[in-house]
């Protein structure tokens, strides 16, 4: 790992952590468990495109671990982890099929799989399959929030490529 890539990864982790901690403090708008804006996913997706899957996974795991410790929600970490890892593996796999101008599609798919992963974890942990009642609502919220966070990541990536600053990983691919 080059110094430049390492620095970028560290910077992105810090940014993801700050966004995550701010988001935790925004009260949730709905009484439905698991609905969140997922703003930190902007950084996850951006990291995937700019630094590659290995570094992006580091950013994601560091953000989940440190984020749950800093926000005092360690008991809720299992939900973030299950959703985060399922979603990450899916988007890392399908990423190659989409253009930079379609990052938002990858993001929506990621958000939906994130919510599915969370529901699976919740069903296993609470032992009540009735929770799956919330799955359609969570898919709707995943499509909406995923599209917005994805668009943000997409605009960011496009601008950086245009400025010639995204030469860590993207250049090899395109």
């Amino acid at each position: 790992m080059s110094i430049k890539k390492l620095t970028m990864t560290a910077l992105l982790t810090a940014a993801a952590l700050i966004i995550y901690l701010i988001e935790v403090n925004i009260p949730s708008l709905t009484p439905i468990p698991g609905i969140k804006l997922g703003l930190a996913n902007i950084v996850s997706i951006f990291a995937l495109y700019i630094t590659g899957p290995y570094n992006a996974l580091c950013v994601l795991l560091a953000r989940i671990f440190l984020g749950s410790i800093f926000s005092g929600q360690v008991i809720a970490m299992i939900y973030s982890l299950s959703g985060g890892l399922l979603s990450f593996s899916i988007i890392a796999l399908i990423r190659g099929f989409f253009k930079i101008s379609q990052i938002w599609i990858v993001s929506v798919i990621g958000a939906i799989t994130h919510n599915i992963g969370q529901i699976i974890a919740a069903v296993i942990i609470t032992g009540t399959p009735e929770i799956t009642i919330y799955l359609p609502v969570l898919i709707i919220s995943g499509i909406i929030t995923g599209a917005f966070t994805g668009l943000a990541a997409q605009v960011l990536t496009e601008r950086l490529i245009k400025l010639g600053l995204a030469d860590l990983y993207v250049k090899k691919k395109t």
Binding site: P31, Q73, Q102, T126, P136, I139
Partner: protein, 127 residues
């Protein structure tokens, strides 16, 4: 075809409609009974028959995780919790098919099936 943006836009729009319909149906579905079951970690803690019209409060506590449950003529709800997200408190009364969930504390309050409710009616008393 699968790589075009238009395909995915249509796909997401269809998915939105299906999920909208499904959630409207599932959440507005009438409960099968008036017996609520409280579960933690998948184990039944208590069954409460809301037809009884009793009003009382009690606290579910486990390893420092506390949820105060209130039962009265309006229904059953969690009125206080020391969990970080407070989603269970914001849920309010258990009305429709949607269970009250406290994810950090692994607590679920849901309507019981009619058969379960009759079978275990003894667990209902003792408020």
């Amino acid at each position: 075809m699968i790589r075009t943006t238009r395909f995915w836009m249509v796909f997401f729009a269809v998915l939105l409609c299906i999920c909208g319909g499904a959630s409207w149906y599932l959440i507005n579905r009438e409960p099968g009974s008036r017996v609520a079951g409280i579960y933690q970690d998948g184990a039944l803690i208590r069954r409460i028959n809301l037809e009884d019209g009793q009003a009382f409060e009690f606290t579910i506590s486990k390893d420092g995780m506390e949820n105060q449950v209130c039962v009265d003529e309006e229904g059953i709800r969690i009125i206080r919790s020391n969990c970080p997200d407070q989603t269970c408190v914001k849920h309010g009364n258990l009305r429709s098919g949607a269970p009250i969930v406290c994810l950090p504390h692994h607590i679920v309050i849901k309507w019981e099936n009619e058969t379960d409710a009759i079978e275990d009616i003894d667990a209902v008393t003792g408020g």
